[in-house]
Structures are given as structure tokens and as C-alpha cells.
Amino acid sequence: MDIVGLARLQFAVTGSLHFLFVVLTLGLAPLVAIMHTRYAIGGNPLHERMTRFWGQIYVINYALGVVTGLVMEFQFGLSWSGLSHYAGDVFGAPLAMETLLAFFLESTFLGLWIFGWHRLPRGLHVACIWLVTLTAYASALFIMVANSFLQNPAGSAEMGGRLVLRDFGALFTNPTLVFALPHVLSAGLWTGGFVVMGASAYHLFRRTPEREFFTRSLRIGVLTAFIGSLFTVGFGYAQFGPVGSVQPDKFHGVIPGTALGLMITIGQLVQFAVMFVLAPLLIRDLLARWRWLHPLLMVMTPLPFVAAIAGWIVREVGRQPWLVYGKLSVADALTPGLTRADITASFAGFAGVLGLLALVDYVLIARAVRRGPGQVALGAADLPVTAEPVPAHSL
């Protein structure tokens, strides 16, 4: 493989790993915020347990979202300095806003939420998780604005061999953005709903003592997946018009065509299954009682993740060979002087370390699910600030 191919593969691998964790973050954040709000208003201990259990799953998943995201942010300058040279005056603005207006606040408020148990007044603590959700969605907005600019360089003009910003608002009304953003956010809800559904099915199938907890969780998961899948599919089909008008050849290649077929097959079949089978079976909790269905629910859990990655393959491979569509090719954007040794070493490092950590993270999520709401570290008791003398052993 040539250097451009290696650099592309590195971006594809780290980007896909990043999105696997981001898509679940986007879906679980509002669910945890709603659970926490219900606890804050009603004071029902079940809602507190739900907040801490699903919140812990959310937080373990978030860890990998952050570390994969760091690589994404720096990779533009490392491998694709031609992009910042040619289009940085336009493309850099939404990325800068993502870091300052969204991620900076998301990370700060998440720290307050994770470590704020037993410290913050209940109302302010709930406000933190809502601010985390809001800023996570703002992140998605700015990143999709930046990506949509690469798909269709709206709001800019070429002057002296570089793109300059002409109309900032046009970045936000980009036809490749307006349906893609709700498509991505809905896919997040669908994924979050399926994870809650699959984990609940596991506990119901195993007949663990947490029957009420997971019967309610199953309901939340299926309803979230119902809403999410409906809008994901709707905003998916809605993109054909605008995409066809700016990138008419997008689906003609083998890879984007296959990925598109895979995404639509999964999306359409599973959306029908949720709408016509799973959602109706929530009546009188039939879905929670019909134990023979639960293995099927567990097996379905990864499907939204697969569809999400297929979706990004369609969007990104479908605009090749362009980095900025019609303006700057991927090959021309490669950092001058980048050697095969550089890119091979960094690819091995990032893919190896992040791939390993991603596996560990999924094992930890599965483990947290299996241990159930009885053993949750999030919100556990504090340590005293002074070191305690070693207590004598007593019986």
C-alpha cells in the first residue's frame, strides 16, 4: 500500500473506533439524564439505581470516546497538513468551536457529574448531566458541520490558491448537513436503546433478582430504539436528494455501494422489527415475560454499531478521491515529506493501542452489565482525606 493509502487507512481505523464509542455516548447521555431527572424529582430509589447503573456503562464507554477522539483531532495536522494549508481558514473554525464551545464544557461538566455524588446539591448535579448531553450534541453539530464542508465546500471561495470563509451561516445550512445531523443523532439513540435492551434481556434471561429494574429498562430501551430507528431511517432516505445534487457519483463505487446496501438492509429490517414486533410486545410486558425471545434481543444489540460504521464508509469512501469535494484531492492533502516509516509506525502505535484498549473497554462494559445494579462504582462512598491507620483484624 502507498503512503496515501496507509494514511487513509489510519484515519479510517481510528475514526471508526472513535465513532463506535461516540454513537453510544450520544444515545446513552440523554437516557441517563432523564433517569437522573426522574430520581431528582420523585426520589424513587429505583431511579437512582438506574441512573448509577446505566451512568456507569455510559462513563466506561466515554473513556474510549475521549482517547480515540484525541487522535482524531491531531491527525489532521499530522497526516493531512495540506488540508489546513488549503482550507484551514474555513474548516478550522468549526473544529475550534467544537473544542471550546462543546468538548471543553462536556469534559468539565462530566467530571463534576462523575465525582459530584454526595457533594453537589441534587438539582445542580442533574444540571451537570443535562449540560453533558447538550454539549455532546453540540459536539456532534460542529463535527458534522466540519465534515459536511468536506463533502460540499459551502460558504467559501478560492483566493490565491486557498479557500477563504465567505458566509459562515452557509456552513450550517449545507445541504449535506441538514439531514445528516439528525440521521447521526437518531442513530445514537437507536444504539443506546439497543444496548439498554440487550443488557436488560441478558438479566431477564438469566432470571437475576433485578426483575423490576430490567423490565423497566427493557421498556426504555425498546421505546428509545423505536424513536431512534424511525428517525434514523427517515433522515437516511431524505439524504438521497441533497447528496445526489452535490455528489452525483457517490454510490457508484463497489465499497460505498456495498456499504450502502448493508446499512439499508440492517436499518430497514431492524426498524420494522422494532416497530411491528418489539414495540407492540411492550403491552403488558410480554417482551419481558417471553424468555425465549431474549437471546434474539442480545444478538441484535451490535446491529446499529455495524450499520453506523457502514454509514460512515458510504459517506467517506463515496467522496473519494476528494478530501474537499471538487477542490482538494486526498493525495494533494497529504503532509509533504511524510515517510512510509512515519506513517507505518504511528499507524501501528495508534491502531495497536486503541484497538487493545477498545477490546478491554468492551470487556469492562460487559462485565459491568453482568455484575448488575448491585455492584456499581459510580457514586460509591468516598475515602476520608486523612490516611486511616491500618485497622486491626477483627472477626
Binding site: A93, F104, F109, G111, D342, A368, A387
Partner: protein, 248 residues
Amino acid sequence: MDIFWFLTFAVLLAGYFALEGFDIGLGVLLPVLGRSPAARDRLVGAMAPFVLANEVWLVALAGVLFGAFPVLEGQALSRLYPLVVALLLAWIVRDAGLWFRRRSGGAAWRLVWDGALCAGSAGLALSWGAILVAVARGLPASPLDAAGIAGGVALLALLAWHGRTFAAWRLQDGPGRSGRALLLSACAAAAPAVLVMAAAAAHMLGNAAPDQTLTVLSVMVVPVAPILVGAQVWVWRTFSRGALPTFF
């Protein structure tokens, strides 16, 4: 306008070292100050609620570099390629250590991730020292030489001292536990970055994005700046005193 964004960049860089510097330093000293698992839990508990709010200064810094100085972003990151890759890998390993160390019960598991936390922190300090030296020398072709390594070791020692001061202040334990001592070590930790920024000022100002871009950035970011500052202050007001949280 370019001066405003240069100052923003400089403040973010200095703030990163003053704040994240003590997390890095404490991570480096973890096996020294925390001989037992319980002692390490206290040290990590002291810094844990600050880490997420501190490390994000570097994310914001990279964002400002891309938004306001896009040409320099491509230039600097690609010239410093091996150092930036090392920095990122160290950062990832450090964060994984923090997030994972208490997610499973076994003693060996803890030891592995405490090791990752320490090694990652050391890697962060060493690569940052080498990067600052390289920037101060105007991005030489091969940034990893004797001077770069010396810079890395010097920064490691400086941040370790800052981390030690933070632990003494937060845990009210050992010498130099006053807030004034912590302020002093924070200023010292930020000093190398401030000097490098002063040296690079002319070059950065000559390579800022055009006014159109900077104006848009200012209009979007400045109104939100009080919220950014407020959130940071809230973290310090909440976690400076009292019992230690246990999640990390």
C-alpha cells in the same frame, strides 16, 4: 484580532501546564509517593476530579491552533511528527490507566493500570519537554536530540515537583502544603511554556488566519467564555476540600 487569539493560545498553553502539570507530575510520582494500593488510591482520588477539567485545556489549545493558526497547525504537527505521536500515545495510556484501574478487583489488574498511569504521565512530560525545546529552536528537522531529551527530563522534574506540591496541598500531608506553595509551583510549571510562547510570538502573529475567520471565531466563542471559566471555578470550589471521590 490576531493578538487576541495569540493571547488566548498562550493562556491555554500556560493554563494547561499549571493545571494538567500536577496531574502529570503526580502520575509520575505515583509509585514513589504511594507505596501501597491504598496510598495510591488516595493520591489518584486527590487528582481524579480535576483531570477531566485539566486535560481538556490541551484539546482546546489544539482547536485554537487549527481555527486561528491553521497553517502553523499543519507545519508544527508535521515537523514534530514523532514527538506528537509519542505525546498522544502517552496521553492515551495515562488516561486508560486512570479510567481502568478500579474497574476490576484483582491486585494484578490494579498494578498494570497504575503502571500505565505512571508510564503515560512520564511519557507526557518527556515528550512535552522535547516539544517545547523544539519549538523554542524554531522546529529543527530532527527534534529528538540531546537538547530535546534534556528538556524532557527537566520538565519531568519540574512537573513532578508541582505534582508533589498539589498532593501535599490537597491531602494536607507533608511539607509545603499551603495554597501559596501550590500557586508557586503552578507558575513554575507554566513558566517554560510562557517563555517559548514569547519566543514564538512574532512567527505566530505572522501566520494567523484572516480577519474574517478570526471575527467569526470571536463572535461565537467570546460570549461563552464566562461559562468556560465558571465551569472551571466550579470544579475547584467543589473538589478542593473534603473526602476523596473513588471512581478513578
